[in-house]
Each structure stands twice: as structure tokens, then as C-alpha cells.
Symmetry: C2
Subunit: 247 residues, 2 copies
Amino acid sequence: MNLTVFSKRDLEEILGIIHDSTLCRSEPELMSLMVRVRDIVEADRSICGIGDKSGRMKILNESFPADWMQRYQDEVLSVSDPVVNYVMTFFKTCLWKDAVEVFPGKPYTELMGKASEHGLKYGVAGGVNGKTQNFGSVFSFSSVSDRFGGRQKKILDVVVPHLHQAIMRIASPGISKEKEIEPVVLSVREVEVLRWIKEGKTNWEISMILNISERTVKFHVHNITIKLNAVNKSHAIAIAMERGLLE
Amino acid sequence: MNLTVFSKRDLEEILGIIHDSTLCRSEPELMSLMVRVRDIVEADRSICGIGDKSGRMKILNESFPADWMQRYQDEVLSVSDPVVNYVMTFFKTCLWKDAVEVFPGKPYTELMGKASEHGLKYGVAGGVNGKTQNFGSVFSFSSVSDRFGGRQKKILDVVVPHLHQAIMRIASPGISKEKEIEPVVLSVREVEVLRWIKEGKTNWEISMILNISERTVKFHVHNITIKLNAVNKSHAIAIAMERGLLE
DNA sequence: TGTGAGCCTGTACTAAAGGACAGGTGTTAA
DNA sequence: TTAACACCTGTCCTTTAGTACAGGCTCACA
């Protein structure tokens, strides 16, 4: 990472933020860190959150408009938020407009339109994944004018991993607990199907082995992915093996 | 399993074969068991083997024509043998004609044509998988006329698991050893890709995360499956996790 | 100065997976 | 007896995965 683009003052402030992140143990402390990052990326508003894409996100709002946040929560807009999606999928820093390019669907552009109505038009965001599946944190900074580019992304690239550690300490217990302990009960047939998937069999092959239709195999696979909170077969296998569901 | 279709004599012989299977410790003993099974299913010739579909099969021939076996080995015909494919894929008993129906491709029908030239036209076969991927055993019985049906399949359903145990004792050491110990060295990039597959990411998502093209992700995935001797992603994940390649 | 290994990329195609929608049976326990 | 649950099946459609063929660059090592 080439850091020569930054001035000495910038570097001092960035290092300071990182250092204070290590000491951060409370929400107000995190909020004051967000203010400092907000200032150095020249943004007007900031917000952060931790959780997953499916709406189980705990949000710590520093300066996003309250009415927008209310609407965001009421209409469960996080699922169609391209920025959240981008960050929680790729765990990379992005400009808001980059995210819209990657997720060009109608619900996404609509959401960005709604956000504009609340003065949230331009922004930059970053995040880190928390080792397990789609769980991670998002840090987003917004401004009324478009002053974001490579410089802002680079700052977030450097700072966000440390902010992530901080928000994990503060907010993750409440989120992660209820998620991990969930005991999963797979039916006999589902375990059978899963074992064969593990052996690399296709749905059709499994249908031949179990003397059922391919459609039925898909049916079981679908139920398995839902029960395991997986997104596809490979993910399901990994989760099942980690939890020892195939012994 | 309904066994009332069998006569008392049949049942006695089947039970006898099963019992002697448990005592079987040498190739000649196994061959004499094959003869007894051959007789009870009213076949003319028999053969068995252990290994996988990719040609690493050890064959124990009881009474298949020697010239055919030579040709089979020289032309590596096992890969286009619908019966071997059927048994090693589904680990189920089948009539030869069933296998041709399920694998209707040109190479398969061609192989069956070649076999006919050697007097091998009708048959019945069964097999069992050896817990690991596509490794298992095949027991095949042939006749010049078509006298095979439900009765023969049922006999094999009952007998084959025990023959499998016997052939495993006799022939598996030489086969399985060289296979399991194979140390796999994955490149840094390959492990990275594998980790993200484990998280359920699609190729496209991984390409975004690693800043490479989707094509390149496919390239790595392909190399991974070859190195791990897997048939697809799910299989690769299972193998990698079992061997602790992702720690 | 090759040579191999790791890494990267493209086009074009087929096979497989996955999702939406709609429905079926049989068993079991309140 | 109704409700819940496991299990099963179909059609239609879109998205991903996988494969074949063809080529690129860079670095280490002999």
C-alpha cells in the first residue's frame, strides 16, 4: 500500500485514530472515532453497523438523519441497500456510486433515490467480515457534494479494520450470540442428501441413489440451505461439517 | 426387503455365501465365492473389481474371456463402461441394460457393442462404495442369453455388501494406500479461493473480493478440483476441510 | 537463456443449480 | 379430526458452474 499520497498531518491523524481504536471500549468512544474519521475523509455524516445482510444488523448512528433511519428500519431497506450489500459481500471499501454500478437492480437504485431525498447522495463506505459467513461490519460516510475518491477509499482501507475490532468489542455480543447457538435439526433424509453432496454427487445422481426424483433432491437441498442459513451447497457442506452434523 | 420369493434352497445357499464371505481371506477363496454367486444367479461368467471410475481399478477375473480383458485394459475401456459407471456412481445393483439406459452416450453404447463381440451381451452387476468419494467395488455377472431380472438383482442386493467386505480385505491395501497418502499442495491463491467458496461465495463474488476476473476464479477452482481429486466445488470443500487444508 | 510454475484472462458453449409457483401423500400427536 | 411435519413431485425459468480452446505475464532456478 502506497501511503506517500498522504501529508504528515494526515498520517499522524490516521495513526492516532488507529491507536485510539485499540483503546475504544464504549459506544460514545466509538462515535468520537467516527467523527474523526468523518472529518479526515471530508464527509458531513457518518454511521456504522454490525451484523449480516439479512436485516440482523445493529446500527450505531453518529450523524445520519433520524427520519431516514426511521424509514430505513421501518421499510427494512438494508436488504436493498447496494452499499451494505457491496461491503457485506466483498468486505472492501467502495464509493457509493461503485456499489450502484455493481448492483444495478431496480430496488437498489430506488433505495439510493430515497436516500437522496434525505440529503444522502454521495458517500464512501468500508467494512470487514467477521470470519463467519456473511457477518461483518460497515462504516459509511456521506456528503451532499461528491468529494470522494481514491484518497478517501485509501483512508478507509487503512482505518476500517481497526474500527471493526472496536465495534466487535462493543456491539457483537448481542448480535452473534443468538445466531451461533441456534441448534439445527436436520431430518433423516436431509442428512442423507447432505452426505452425498459431500461426496460430490450431483442432484441427479443423488436422485438415482435414493430412488427419488431430481426435483425432490432440490427440495431437500433447498430446505437444508435454509435450515443451515447457507447460501448454496458448498456453504451448506462447510457449515454441516464444522458443526459435525454428518457424523 | 421381501425375501419370500426365494425357495428354501436358495435361502440356504445365499446365507452360506454370506457366511463364507466373512471367512474369506484370499483371492482363490473369493473366486470360489464368485462361482457360487454366478451359479445362483444363473450366469455363465463372473468378474469383480475394486477401485474408482478413473481407471485405478484392480480387477479379479473369475471367468470373463481373457482376450476381452486384454482389450479392456489396453483401451482403458473402464471409463466408458456404463455398468462400472452405474455401479460406481449409484452403488446400486443393476441389469446391464439398465445401465445403458441411464448412460445413453455414444462411447457407452460402443463399449457394449464391443463386449457383445466377446459374448458378453447380458448381465447383472452390483457394488458398494467404500465411504470415500468414488471408491468402491463392482461385481458383474454375464450370460449369453437374457435370464436376468428382479430375482437376480435381489440376490446381489443381499450378497454384494458381504463380497465387498471380502474384496476390501484382499485387494484394497494396494489400491487405497497410494491414493490416500498423496500429499496435496495448494497454492496460496488456491487456498484463498477455497476459503471464500467455503463461505458460500460465488465465482463472481470471489472475483470482486480478490480483484481478479471471474474467469480466473474458475481457473483456480478447476485446478483445485484436479489437485484434490474432486468432482466439483462441494466435493472440494469437503475434502479440503477433512484434510485440514484451510486452517 | 530456457523452462516450469503460479498466476491471469478471454470467448463460447453445455450442464447443473437454484428459485417461483403449485400441488401431492402418509404419519403422528394434540 | 385437524394440524403439523416429513416427504415427495411437477413445470418453467434464470443464474452459476464447469469445460474446451487459446493465450498472456512474471519470477525463480538450473
